[in-house]
């Protein structure tokens, strides 16, 4: 039972290079959590595995707090965030 709309997954910096793209549209099942999506991403993009331990995830432009694992909603925007280095 998939959502009718795809979810945007954005990749930046190291993660973008690992995936080879800045954005992927993925279809997920109802009830799918952020951690489920991340697990699927590693299967699709094995080079992500080595760097995910130092990345965090943003959901709709807010960091997902440690210990939380929200259920994805239609039109959510997910981003894989490597350690930042602005300034």
């Amino acid at each position: 039972d998939e959502f009718p709309d795809s979810i945007s997954v954005l990749f930046f910096a190291k993660a973008r290079e690992a995936v080879g793209a800045a954005e992927r549209k993925v279809f997920v099942k109802r009830g799918c959590r952020v951690s489920d999506l991340v697990r699927d991403l590693i299967v699709d993009y094995p080079p992500l595995k080595a760097i995910l331990s130092c990345c965090v995830v943003a959901l709709n432009q807010e960091f997902v707090e440690e210990g939380k694992d929200p259920i994805l909603q239609p039109k959510d925007e997910i981003a894989i965030i490597p350690p930042v280095s602005g300034g």
Binding site: A13, V84, G86
Partner: protein, 142 residues
């Protein structure tokens, strides 16, 4: 003493003078400024340029929130934060923060808080490009 808050991510050269002038105010006796510039070396390696990228929508939201927190803690007038993206050559500004206030203590402290917090959380990344080694994504110290 609420004033304007300007948050800007741009691929263009940062016009530091114009940014500073835009924070000046007849009610303010102090303008504090921080410029982050590209260094020519890291760990003995010669740096040619930095390449910046950002999760722009999120970074802009984050920086606006930082500005709100500044206004809760310090009485400041105008807050200007500009971050350059793309290639930044040596000696050019990657970030310009300008804050004006009636008295100096407020804007001095607020500028330090702003750059510390932006470096800690804003979704912006830089890759250091060296003369002879492979480029490297950086990571800000905690």
């Amino acid at each position: 003493m609420a004033g304007k808050t300007t948050v800007l991510l741009t691929n263009e050269f940062l016009e530091t003078k114009a940014l500073i002038d835009s924070a000046k105010d007849p009610e303010c006796g102090a303008v504090s400024v921080f410029l982050g510039t590209t260094r020519d070396n890291f760990d003995g390696k010669k740096v040619v340029r930095l390449e910046y990228e950002a999760y722009e929508a999120m970074a802009i939201r984050q920086i606006h929130k930082i500005c709100e927190r500044i206004r809760e803690r310090w009485s400041v007038r105008h807050i200007i934060v500009a971050h350059r993206l793309g290639n930044v050559p040596v000696c050019e500004e990657s970030v310009v923060i300008v804050i004006s206030s009636a008295h100096r203590k407020e804007s001095l402290e607020a500028v330090e808080y702003a750059i510390d917090t932006i470096k800690a959380i804003a979704t912006i990344w830089k890759k250091e490009v060296y003369e002879s080694d492979a480029p490297q994504w950086k990571q800000n110290a905690e």
